[in-house]
């Protein structure tokens, strides 16, 4: 049983909607392994296929091709009511003709559990999501955040092997969303259930997940821990979608033992770590995060050979930090994010020339 640590395993799953002439490929050969007890996030823009993948795991749709395994056994052709997998819907989908407690007990009732067990589990769930006082309320008599909790409790009550969450926080306001993010992490810890979370909010994905799969146009582009994805995006889409990124086009110089020499637009050369097999003289895209950039006055350190030169076009104050929008002589726009400390405030003025500097190891070479 070497599958025991893997909760959900999708193998070459494709989903095509529609007929012959107007078909839409929602998922294109997706293979992902999601570990037991993991908070796994499917992240991507709307229409990237993340919700379709979730619906395939829930059983609302069946894959056109490929297999889905739950703890090693094939489930892709089972109807939803035969899968030990529950969903928290984006719209919550609470039954309006039932009370909070009846909603939470519904799944157990449908599993023909004895009444005493249903009552005990419902009470336990109400306590878990802190909704004990509202147990006899109708679902339309409680607030959006409370509905969210009931939806969670209802999906957790039958103790599924895997919990699917389809953008569950998107309808909440900012503050409530922050609260629920922490709440979800707590619930996942307390229940020990595998969570598969769908979102288009990259910040949400980075803060909550154990691992993230970035999706676009029906494909999984990169799977990894949040920090890995942020620091080492595998391609341009991932780098662009997660956080802010500056892209620089540069030319490859000589490559030797794991390091590549890259010629920057300003003529300076840097040596960058890279496993990619790059041909000499080929053009590559480099990504650098705005917070990795240092700005220097060209006059302050005349001996220092700055990597790039640029002109300050715009300065935007954000409270904790300030965004400096720069333009390189080649026309490329860049952005530097510099934390505000008393010392650094108002160092540069719009229109002034600055030197742009960064640690070469912060550069990420991207596949095309």
């Amino acid at each position: 049983m070497n599958h025991s640590r893997i909760a959900i395993d999708t193998r070459n799953v494709s989903k095509i909607f529609g007929g012959d002439h107007d078909s839409v490929v929602a998922l294109d050969d997706v293979s992902v392994s999601i570990n037991e007890n993991e908070f796994f996030t499917l992240l991507g823009p709307s229409g990237c296929g993340k919700t379709t993948l979730l619906r395939l795991i829930a059983g609302f749709e069946h894959p056109t091709q490929g297999r889905i395994l739950l703890h090693g056994s094939e489930i892709s052709q089972l109807p939803p009511y035969k899968r030990p997998v529950n969903t928290v819907f984006q719209s919550y989908a609470l039954f309006p003709h039932m009370t909070v407690a009846e909603n939470i007990g519904f799944g157990l009732e449908m599993q023909n559990k004895p009444d005493a067990e249903i009552a005990a589990t419902v009470n336990q769930m109400l306590r878990l999501v802190k909704m004990e006082e509202l147990r006899d309320r109708r679902t339309h008599q409680i607030s959006g955040g409370q509905q969210q909790r009931v939806a969670l409790a209802r999906a957790l009550a039958p103790r599924p092997r895997v919990l699917l969450l389809d953008e569950p926080l998107s309808a909440l306001d900012y503050k409530l969303r922050k609260e629920m993010q922490i709440e979800l992490k707590r619930l996942q810890h307390e229940t020990g259930i595998t969570f598969i979370f769908v979102t288009h909010d990259q910040e949400e994905a980075l803060t909550m997940s154990d691992r993230v799969a970035v999706m676009n146009q029906g494909r999984v582009l990169q799977v990894g821990a949040p920090q890995e994805i942020y620091d080492h995006p595998s391609d341009r889409f991932v780098a662009d979608f997660i956080g802010d990124t500056n892209f620089i086009t540069a030319q490859v110089g000589a490559a030797e033992n794991g390091r590549v020499s890259i010629e920057m637009p300003g003529g300076q050369c840097v040596r960058v770590r890279s496993d990619l097999d790059l041909a000499e003289k080929s053009r590559v895209t480099l990504a650098i995060r705005p917070e990795q950039i240092r700005l220097l006055s060209p006059h302050s350190s005349p001996g220092n050979r700055a990597l790039l030169q640029g002109e300050l076009e715009n300065i935007v104050y954000f409270g904790t930090d300030t965004h400096y929008h720069l333009k390189l002589p080649t026309g490329i726009a860049m952005m530097a994010r510099i934390q505000n400390t008393r010392r650094k405030q108002a160092l540069f003025a719009t229109g002034s020339r600055v030197s742009i500097d960064f640690d070469p190891d912060a550069l990420q070479i991207l596949k095309d």
Binding site: Y81, F89, A93, M110
Partner: protein, 315 residues
């Protein structure tokens, strides 16, 4: 000083407002009066006439004699023997009442069985397509009821389309008598009133959030249990409205039982018509009409009751 000036400024404004409101109220009354008169005259007028007639004596050649009598009401359920004055239940009337209620309930049931999947089908089509399907449902309304009923007769009579088809298929050897039976009335009424079931059912299904159905499946409910525990409670208002819309006119149906029942299988509507026509017993006809009205009202009370306790008390 300041306060005074403000009062002065306020006073004319509120006076204008008050006059405007008074004018508006008067205009509302004036505008609604004609409709109210028509409604009062057309709805309660005939009812009052019926109620009065039911307590008068029948004239020898129809009409009424202005002499108070309870004979009309008496004859609704009771029968006095011509020779020995022995009282017995009016069996003929009771069997007609029973047939009316039975056939109306069966019509409603059939309409639910046929209408529910139809409405569900329409409600699950793409929004642009739904209006086309609804349009198809309403097409029968374009033709006169009498003509549609005669068309039905053509289908089910002994040499009709249905019998011919069954004989050609070898399922039967001699024509089955379908016309002039309760079956004929039942199928005729179901055909006529089916759209009245589909339309309100569709209206409540269209509002149904289909993610609730998915939530039901997700929480281990099989198809039947999703239907019973999720869909039915939520479309109950439409189901009840459709049932009333089918049951009430079925109870008083006249044309369908007359044409397809062949005058042998009377329903309430035919019985009432008979009293005003050949029977020449207007007080009895009036009393029967009011009895029918009371039955409808009882059905409506059930409707209101089930609506009040409906979606809220379900668990």
């Amino acid at each position: 000083m300041d306060a005074n000036r403000q009062d002065d400024a306020m006073a004319p404004a509120s006076k204008i407002e008050r006059t405007a409101r008074k004018q508006q109220t008067r205009r509302h009354i004036l505008l609604t009066t004609p409709a109210l008169i028509v409604l009062a005259a057309a709805a309660s007028g005939p009812l009052i006439i019926m109620l009065i007639y039911s307590f008068l004596t029948a004239g020898d050649y129809g009409g009424v004699v202005w002499k108070a009598s309870t004979q009309g009401w008496f004859k609704v359920f009771l029968h006095k023997d011509i020779f020995d004055d022995a009282l017995s239940l009016q069996d003929a009337h009771i069997s007609i009442f029973w047939r009316s209620v039975k056939l109306s309930l069966l019509t409603t049931l059939l309409a639910v069985i046929l209408g529910f999947p139809t409405a569900y089908f329409i409600a699950t089509r793409a929004p642009g397509r739904r209006s086309m399907w609804l349009f198809l449902v309403t097409i029968p309304f374009w033709t006169n009821l009498l003509i549609r009923t005669f068309a039905m007769m053509e289908v089910i009579r002994n040499e009709g389309i249905l019998n011919n088809l069954l004989m050609k298929l070898g399922l039967i050897h001699t024509p089955v008598q379908m016309l002039y039976t309760d079956f004929a009335i039942l199928s005729g009424m179901t055909y006529v009133y089916l759209p009245l079931m589909i339309l309100p059912l569709y209206a409540s299904m269209e509002k149904l959030d289909f993610s609730l159905i998915e939530a039901g499946y997700d929480l281990y409910a099989t198809r039947m249990r999703v239907l019973r525990r999720v869909i039915l409670p939520l479309v109950k208002p439409g189901l009840v409205a459709g049932s009333i819309l089918v049951f009430v006119p079925s109870l008083g149906a006249y044309v369908t039982p007359r044409v397809l029942g062949g005058g042998k299988n009377l329903m309430l509507g035919n019985l009432i018509e008979l009293q005003f026509g050949q029977g020449r017993n207007w007080p009895l006809g009036a009393a029967l009409s009011i009895t029918l009205l009371v039955m409808v009202m009882i059905a409506l009370i059930f409707y209101v009751r089930s609506m009040q306790g409906g979606p809220r008390q379900h668990g």
